[in-house]
């Protein structure tokens, strides 16, 4: 099932489509209730294994993300890694703004934790 959440001042835009198979997360992330916000996203990612097949494109472009959202995002990466383990290719593109060391480093941290995923970090202006 496709998922689309529009961005707010404090939560990112999130979309998961099946045709083509793509996950996009972009924007700010400091929701008042992190588990309420990310719960449905984590569920949707976890159900990919049974509901989808083939290459999954992931694009992440965060501006500010708080530590509790980072933990939720870790769960999302675990779901992506489980999808990979089920025999599918997962390609992550992590975008950081050109002068944003924090997001650049966070990308490196996730890449380090999920070394089996195809993971590229790119800077954009």
């Amino acid at each position: 099932m496709n998922l689309h959440i529009a961005a707010t001042d404090r939560t990112p835009e999130i979309s998961l489509t099946y045709q083509p198979l793509k996950l996009l997360i972009q924007g700010e992330s400091f929701p008042e209730d992190v588990s309420a916000f990310y719960g449905q996203v984590i569920n949707a990612i976890n159900s990919l294994q049974t509901q989808a097949k083939g290459e999954l494109q992931v694009e992440m472009a965060m501006i500010y993300i708080n530590s509790s959202s980072i933990k939720a995002m870790y769960r999302i990466f675990e779901g992506l890694d489980a999808y990979r383990k089920a025999g599918n290719q997962v390609e992550v593109v992590w975008k950081a703004e050109e002068d944003d060391d924090i997001m650049q480093e966070l990308g490196e941290d996730f890449k380090d934790r999920f070394q089996e995923l195809i993971f590229s970090i790119i800077q954009h202006g």
């Binding site: 404090r10 400091f30 008042e32 992190v34 588990s35 500010y64 708080n66 530590s67 509790s68 980072i70 933990k71 870790y74 002068d99 944003d100 060391d101 924090i102 480093e105 941290d109 996730f110 380090d112 934790r113």
Partner: protein, 173 residues
């Protein structure tokens, strides 16, 4: 308040170069308001790299206060920001139980004594942990603050009574 006390307080704020001061319950709404004010000020004074570091430390510090305040019905929150030369210091305070200080102190000492590379490794390990009792950030917040600060984090515990302590965490960027 006596006006003479107001003058003393003002003088003290000036002497310590305080640019933002808050005392009382720290709510989510307050955080959003202060974050907006801080963002506006940072954009006017600092480059965007530095602004992001300051903003990140501020947000983690304040979110920590919100979470602990909610859990413990604490209205002793404190937020202070000072600017001395080109250094911004963010101080966050709240009232905690004496029984909590031991673990917290141990954790803080470990972080304060670690170099940047060790902090980063602790951070990477912490991303996977989900100790709900430590708050939604489950300990990652302190590491985030330490990681973004240009000096080791500083802290103090100020005894209130037999049961409680006022905790203050300070980070400089």
């Amino acid at each position: 308040m006596e006006l003479s006390h107001a003058i003393e307080l003002r003088n003290s704020l000036r002497k310590n170069r305080v640019i933002m001061a808050y005392n009382g319950t720290v709510s989510d709404e307050l955080m959003l308001t202060l974050a907006d004010m801080l963002k506006t000020r940072l954009l006017a004074h600092d480059d965007s790299k530095r602004s992001k570091l300051i903003f990140s430390v501020f947000m983690e510090g304040v979110q920590n206060l919100i979470w602990h305040g909610k859990e413990n019905d604490d209205d002793h929150g404190m937020i202070l920001i000072t600017e001395v030369g080109n250094e911004i210091t963010i101080l966050c305070g709240n009232r905690i139980l004496k029984s909590e200080t031991h673990d917290l102190k141990e954790r803080l000492d470990r972080i304060a004594g670690a170099d940047k590379e060790t902090i980063r490794q602790m951070y990477r390990d912490g991303m996977a942990e989900s100790g709900e009792h430590e708050g939604p950030g489950a300990g990652l917040g302190l590491l985030e603050i330490a990681r973004r600060s240009t000096h080791p984090i500083n802290y103090t515990f100020d005894d209130v009574d037999d049961r409680s302590v006022d905790f203050i965490l300070s980070a400089t960027i």
